[in-house]
């Protein structure tokens, strides 16, 4: 209990200032007015945070609602949080210059800015742990990822509600944050329960007007987390998922492919997906070339282009690759499934394919719903 402190809401701006004074740029959730929804971008202060905004998520739909609440973190999650700040969706890896009959490789600057991310969730931190396993703990360390990862300060905020698409309770990754944070907040009606998880975090909060947390604060935070545990969607457990490899000829893959657009939005928003392609961008004069890395998707033809052939031509094979890698083949590679229950693949699928429902159907744990088409509110004015 001694490590639990209380930060009044009025002092949240002090926390942001303290992070900035420690040399970090502060990335936080803010409303994206052009496209709608929330995005993680640089913020100047609390005035940029989405105060009183609440998210309503369904398969294929994300809407914000204004409430009178003074809370800044009364939403479940956004289309992306940590991933693009460590694994850049597009970056230059090196440059090659042709001179004096030889080619010379020139490295690019890898000096990352100190970056603090405010408002990350339990599912995001669990996903970051998986990205670390891939980029940092494999045979080859990714120096581009590493440079940014080492400059990261993480201020987590426990969820106060689960979206309809959330299922972190069934993957064991949430709703409460347990590890991987520098500072952890529980947002309450008039302030924040605050814990520190690292020396860096402790130094940042050292001069804040922290108060002793009361029993009432603790109980309120616990009640919020408990409420988040009641989630509509439940991913099959480890034992069931271990049977996924036997379902490669399931008729369900064909049914999914009838709806799937093969657009790759699911893989782009997935906080654990790390697939990429590399491409050469020569200068027009042909004397130098830049080598770039783009985030790629198993829903693109390039992804399975091997020795002159595209191996996975159709959507059936591509969707099957996505689900079986994420929920089955990931286990021998990284010791656990590659899904942390954030539900982004389901919310951000333009046709609302429900990843959890499909996994249950493929494994014979649920019946296919009728009708097959996603429910959509037709009253909405579309342009």
């Amino acid at each position: 209990m001694s490590d639990m402190r209380y930060l009044p809401r009025a002092a949240l701006s002090g926390l942001i200032d303290a992070i900035r004074d420690a040399g970090y740029r502060v990335i936080g959730p803010r409303e994206e007015t052009g496209q709608g929804g929330l995005v993680y971008r640089e913020i100047d202060g609390v005035e940029d945070l989405p105060q009183g905004l609440h998210d309503r998520q369904e398969p294929g739909s994300y809407r914000l609602e204004k409430t009178g609440s003074p809370r800044y973190f009364a939403w479940a999650n956004t289309a992306s949080a940590i991933k693009p700040f460590v694994y850049a969706p597009r970056e230059k890896l090196w440059r090659v210059v042709h001179k004096e009959g030889r080619i010379h490789f020139e490295p690019v600057e890898r000096d990352a800015a100190k970056t603090a991310i405010l408002g990350v969730r339990a599912c995001d931190l669990a996903a970051l742990e998986l990205q670390d396993a891939h980029f940092l703990r494999g045979k080859f360390v990714d120096p581009y990822y590493k440079a940014r990862r080492e400059k990261l300060l993480l201020v987590a905020v426990n969820c106060s509600h689960a979206a309809a698409t959330c299922f972190c309770a069934s993957t064991g990754d949430g709703p409460e944050v347990s590890t991987g944070y520098d500072i952890l907040l529980d947002e309450l009606e008039d302030g924040y329960l605050l814990r520190v998880g690292s020396t860096r975090g402790a130094m940042i909060v050292a001069d804040l007007p922290l108060q002793a947390a009361t029993q009432g604060h603790l109980e309120a935070a616990l009640a919020q987390s408990e409420a988040c545990r009641a989630q509509q969607r439940v991913l099959p457990g480890e034992k069931d998922l271990a049977r996924l490899g036997e379902q490669l000829e399931s008729a369900r893959w064909t049914k999914v492919a009838e709806r799937c657009l093969s657009c790759g939005n699911c893989t782009a928003v997935c906080p654990t997906c790390f697939c990429h392609r590399e491409l050469e961008v020569p200068a027009l004069d042909g004397k130098s070339s830049e080598h770039w890395r783009d985030a790629d998707s198993c829903f693109s033809e390039d992804h399975s282009y091997i020795v002159g052939e595209v191996v996975r031509h159709g959507t059936r094979e591509r969707y099957r690759q996505w689900m079986t890698h994420k929920l089955f083949n990931w286990v021998p590679q990284y010791g656990r499934i590659g899904c942390t229950g954030c539900g982004r693949c389901t919310t951000w699928c333009p046709v609302g394919i429900d990843f959890v429902a499909e996994a249950n159907i493929v494994l014979g744990l649920a019946e296919a719903p009728e009708p097959e088409l996603p429910h959509v509110d037709g009253s909405e004015a579309a342009q």
């Binding site: 496209q35 709608g36 992306s80 093969s262 657009c263 790759g264 042909g286 037709g378 579309a382």
Partner: protein, 263 residues
Amino acid sequence: MSKPRVAIHKFASCSGCQLAFVNMGTELVELVKLVDLVHMAEVGHVLPDDAEMDIAFIEGSITTPHDVERLKSIREHSKFLITMGACATSGGIQALRNNADSAEWMRSVYARPEFIHSLSTSGAIANYVKVDFELWGCPVSVRQMLSTVRSFLFGVPPQIQREKVCQECKRRGNNCIMVTQGAACMGPVTRTGCGALCPSFGAPCYTCYGPAENINVGSFGRRLMGLGLTQEQVVRKFSSINNAAPAFSDAAKLFCSEPWMEE
């Protein structure tokens, strides 16, 4: 070694692709160091259609019998022929006429229609001659054009992506406007190349770069109807700049033909 000879030919089009070419800025200076730009009506270089070329870029669609003759002559005298933009690659917006009664239109507009020598269709270049490479877009992307020229100079196949606009949109960190607003964005069926320009400003994609690879027009069209579009509006969404690209004209036919949803 002499520089490769390059021509930019124009057929039925708005000249926007040639303008994109002229507007490329300092890279145009670099380009003319590498190739001889010997024919381009937009900047005043005009050679006959039977001049020998290493690379012929073609802008515009084929709409008259005379166009067909010119095109055949260009093909015979060019080592590589590359289409440039939506008109040359799929027939352009003017291919909407392909579904109309051309003779009737002529009679209704012109007092003496017998003076008009026009085909009844606006056709893609590939309908008439062999095309070595296609550059989509309305207008074409200068970046893609230059990388294509560079690839030909190296003697390697051009590397132009056929993935959906969504991939580029997500790399830019955009929220999907279909999901946040219920917008009828054509990104999930449209080929990349524009850098997800419209959705980055909150506006729905309208198919400038034509069909992407492996698209699912049935599911996508049904979703648009779920978002509130009528069947006719779905047909119109596919019947835009690249309406005559087979994947889009098939989609339009699909949603013309069947009742997809009960009222």
